[in-house]
């Protein structure tokens, strides 16, 4: 177990290194002179020259990479060229928003996904199975931005029940915060619900046909007890680890949902930065979310390892 942990930790370093190279390289490959892009509509040559100097844009690629990496080791992820704010500050600003959205989406996904998965496994091949299947699959089959706009039109414009977009801090007004987050969380959670449903279903099916459950049934326990207490508990392990992975993806991936609902999280930050050629922001945020994702991955694997004795040794 300890060896496994060490091996995994050792693997993180080269992975992060590749992440940094990947995202740095991709940024630099984007067409268009970033200084020109950032100089704005007046296209003043003095401003362009100044920007090129400030961001070492005339230096060769490895040199620029080194400047950036050096900064990272000192906790300095650079500064947004567009609004002159340190990237670390931007990340700290957006992190609570993104985490809240991710957690809410996960909750919705777990509720929908697990119940649909259990129902589908227990009532296999009946119309409930198909219905649960379709319901969860619906989440995967509709583009988020599309669903988001439809929901806004229905709940915000036509019915007026929920705000159309924007974000209010939960510390300021919890009710308003939840009202603003429920639609985007639902849109995001839908897609994950489908994945969770599938995994719950197959995990449950495996467990339901196992000796353990057959023993429980033979003992004469009520079916509901068998399902909920014995089968589901055992099936939870792979489900939870999968959930943790999806959470990691959510941290950086709610790109379109955030655009549509104007939630000031990471997704929106990254996309806008890509289009504005605000390199430092993209590099800093992606490095951060990649690290978070890898860490969550590791924790999930460890949890699985700890809980499932069969994997040890």
């Amino acid at each position: 177990m300890f060896n496994y942990l060490l091996k995994r930790l050792a693997a993180i370093v080269p992975t992060l290194f590749f992440v940094s190279i990947l995202i740095f390289g991709l940024q630099q490959l984007l067409p268009g002179d970033p200084a020109v892009a950032l100089a704005g509509e007046d296209n003043d040559p003095n401003v362009i020259a100044y920007l090129r100097g400030k961001f070492h844009l005339d230096e060769p690629l490895p040199v620029r990479y080194w400047y950036w990496l050096d900064g990272v080791f000192h906790g300095d992820l650079g500064e947004s060229v567009r609004i002159h704010k340190p990237v670390t500050e931007l990340i700290l600003e957006k992190l609570p928003v993104t985490i809240e959205l991710a957690v809410l989406a996960m909750l919705i996904a777990l509720v929908i996904g697990i119940s649909a998965g259990v129902a589908s496994a227990v009532l296999k091949d009946t119309k409930w199975d198909y219905a649960a299947n379709i319901f969860a699959l619906w989440g995967l089959s509709t583009p988020n931005f599309w669903l988001g706009i439809l929901l806004i039109l229905l709940f915000a414009v036509k019915l007026g029940w929920l705000p159309a977009s924007g974000y209010v801090s939960p510390f300021e007004d919890l009710k308003a915060n939840l009202a603003a987050m429920i639609m985007p969380a639902f849109v995001l959670g839908n897609a994950i619900a489908a994945v969770l449903m599938r995994h719950t279903r197959s995990a449950m099916l495996q467990v339901l046909s196992s000796d353990y459950v057959r023993t429980a049934r033979a003992k004469g326990l009520a079916e509901r007890v068998v399902i909920l207490r014995h089968a589901l508990r055992n099936a939870m392990v792979p489900i939870v680890t999968l959930g943790a992975l999806q959470l990691g993806e959510l941290l950086g991936g709610a790109v379109l949902t955030e655009q549509v609902f104007s939630i000031p999280g990471f997704g929106k930050l990254i996309v806008d930065a890509v289009f504005n050629r605000d390199y430092s922001v993209v590099q800093g945020v992606v490095l951060f979310t990649a690290t978070a994702y890898i860490t969550l991955n590791l924790l999930a694997d460890l949890a699985y390892f700890v809980v499932n004795p069969r994997m040890r040794g």
Binding site: V47, I83, I152, G166, V260
Partner: protein, 500 residues
């Protein structure tokens, strides 16, 4: 006795709620840095209108009106502009606004690293403090656009003390001289200002708090207005106007912009210009223009929310050259010209930004000129990339909009004079350059207009840019709001705005 008075006083206090009147404005983009010297976007100017007062301002007819400068006077040779400054004005940090502050600001605009104001203040050679309420800007040569320049960011005055203390981090917590002071900014989420108690014109301000919320998607912006989360939105999508007009809860305001939308041709920016017929031969460009039905483009692509035009200023603008009116469509002449030029089916690529407006306009133009035989290809290019390609001349035609400046020179000089930063077409003609430089130095209106007429005559024959139309700035707001002034620069001025 005393007790009942106390109760009365308390109940009176309870009965008079002191609520802060707040205004929420929806913007089409997130502004860039909130420093007037460094700022580079149109949307940033909207926010500045509440934060930073300027030396001079514009009214609905684009006339110059006082703001921080109560009067202005040119010297007889027009090489010096003397401004009398308003008394009793203070910055948000309490510092006095005076001639020394003006001098500091102009010099900051001119010398700060990364300043975007250098180009438009280049003609100003020095600033003299005549007395605390009088300042004089000295020019190397007469420069007619100067007054208009001072109605934009170059005329915005920030607190010298705060600017010196903050250096280039000033934009994170700007200290200016406008009706509202900076409270906080969450990038891409909101910008919050609160009323500045000592504003010189506080009688005209009826809000205690202003929040700007950038919402990029026009549909979402409108949804927010309709659901009551916003009081006012800018740049409403033209297709939403008819329905809004019928909705009694909201009002719509519109005015023709000072900018333009046009097709810029690469006629000399790079050697690509010689490789395609429209770049080489002005007759092909003429045929292109004649194949366009501008009114139909306005109708179909912009739902009628634009004004067809053929110059760098709108036909309703006082500086419009009446000797070159907007041409009507003439397909036969277009085809004849192409035959004359020897290219029956000329092809070229039109680079278009990825906004939905630009996409629509591009497609309408494409379908229209097809009827004259043009095989127009559309190339959607992300904005940052397109500017870069235009800069390097790696394009054939570019569907470019310009946000516009109050003085027509701002729409002309940088775009059409030789080797200027915004001259993407590569247009370089000695005759035009001479006229453009001459009009900048001509303060007499009648003479200047004659010069514009001459420039228009040349431009309309050569067509480095085929101007298409001038959009309407479109605002939609709750019917409880009144006092919105529609000024062609597209700004939302808070003076006089009130919630009923």
């Amino acid at each position: 006795m005393k007790f009942s008075r106390l109760v009365f006083a308390l109940s009176l206090a309870a009965a008079l709620p002191s609520f802060a009147q707040a205004l929420r404005i929806g913007l089409a983009e997130d502004p860039d840095v909130l420093d007037p010297t460094l700022a580079r976007t149109f949307v940033g100017r909207i926010v500045f209108a509440a934060l930073c007062d300027k030396l001079l301002d514009l009214d609905e007819k684009l006339a110059i009106v006082p703001q921080l400068a109560t009067s202005h006077e040119w010297s007889p040779d027009y090489k010096a502009l003397t401004l009398k400054l308003r008394q009793g004005v203070t910055f948000h940090d309490g510092e006095k606004f005076d001639a020394a502050a003006v001098k500091f600001n102009i010099e900051r605009h001119k010398t700060m690293q990364g300043s975007n104001r250098r180009g438009e203040l280049a003609p100003v050679t020095s600033v003299d403090v005549v007395d605390p309420q009088t300042v004089r800007l000295n020019l190397a040569a007469p420069f007619a656009p100067l007054l208009a320049v001072l109605t934009d960011r170059s005329g915005m005055m920030v607190s010298p003390k705060a600017a010196q203390a903050a250096g280039d981090k000033f934009g994170a917590a700007p200290v200016c001289s406008g009706p509202f002071r900076f409270v906080e900014r969450v990038a891409q989420d909101r910008i919050v200002f609160e009323r500045y108690a000592n504003y010189w014109n506080k009688g005209a301000i009826h809000f205690d708090k202003v929040t700007y919320l950038p919402l990029i998607d026009a549909t979402v912006r409108l949804a927010n207005l309709k659901s009551g989360q916003l009081d006012l939105i800018e740049r409403v999508a033209p297709s939403d106007i008819p329905a809004l007009g019928k909705d009694s809860r909201f009002k719509v305001a519109k005015i023709v912009e000072i900018g333009y939308q046009g097709v810029t041709f690469n006629i000399g920016k790079s050697d690509l210009a010689q490789k395609y017929p429209a770049g080489k031969d002005p007759r092909v460009r003429e045929a292109f223009e004649l194949a366009l039905d501008r009114d139909a483009i306005v109708q179909v692509a912009m739902e009628g929310e634009a004004l067809a035009g053929n110059q760098w200023v709108a036909p309703t603008n006082t500086w419009y050259a009446k000797n070159v009116p907007v041409p009507k469509r003439d397909l036969n002449r277009a085809k004849a010209l192409l035959r004359e030029a020897g290219v029956i089916n000329p092809t070229f690529t039109l680079m278009t930004p990825t906004t939905s407006d630009a996409q629509r306009i591009g497609q309408v133009v494409q379908a229209m000129v097809k009827e004259a035989g043009f095989d127009l290809k559309l190339q959607s290019t992300e904005f940052s990339t397109s500017i870069d390609m235009a800069d390097k001349g790696q394009y054939e035609a570019y569907l470019l909009a310009w946000s516009g400046r109050a003085d027509p020179d701002g729409n002309l000089h940088s775009h059409l004079a030789c080797k200027q930063p915004l001259n993407y077409s590569g247009n370089c003609r000695a005759d035009m350059d001479e006229l453009i430089n001459k009009q900048r130095a001509t303060v007499d209106r009648a003479e200047r207009l004659k010069l514009f007429e001459q420039i228009a005559a040349i431009e309309s024959k050569d067509r480095p840019i085929v101007y298409l139309f001038h959009r309407h700035w479109l605002w939609a707001y709750t019917n409880k709001l009144s006092g919105l002034r529609t000024v062609p620069d597209g700004m939302v001025r808070l003076q006089g705005l009130r919630m009923n």
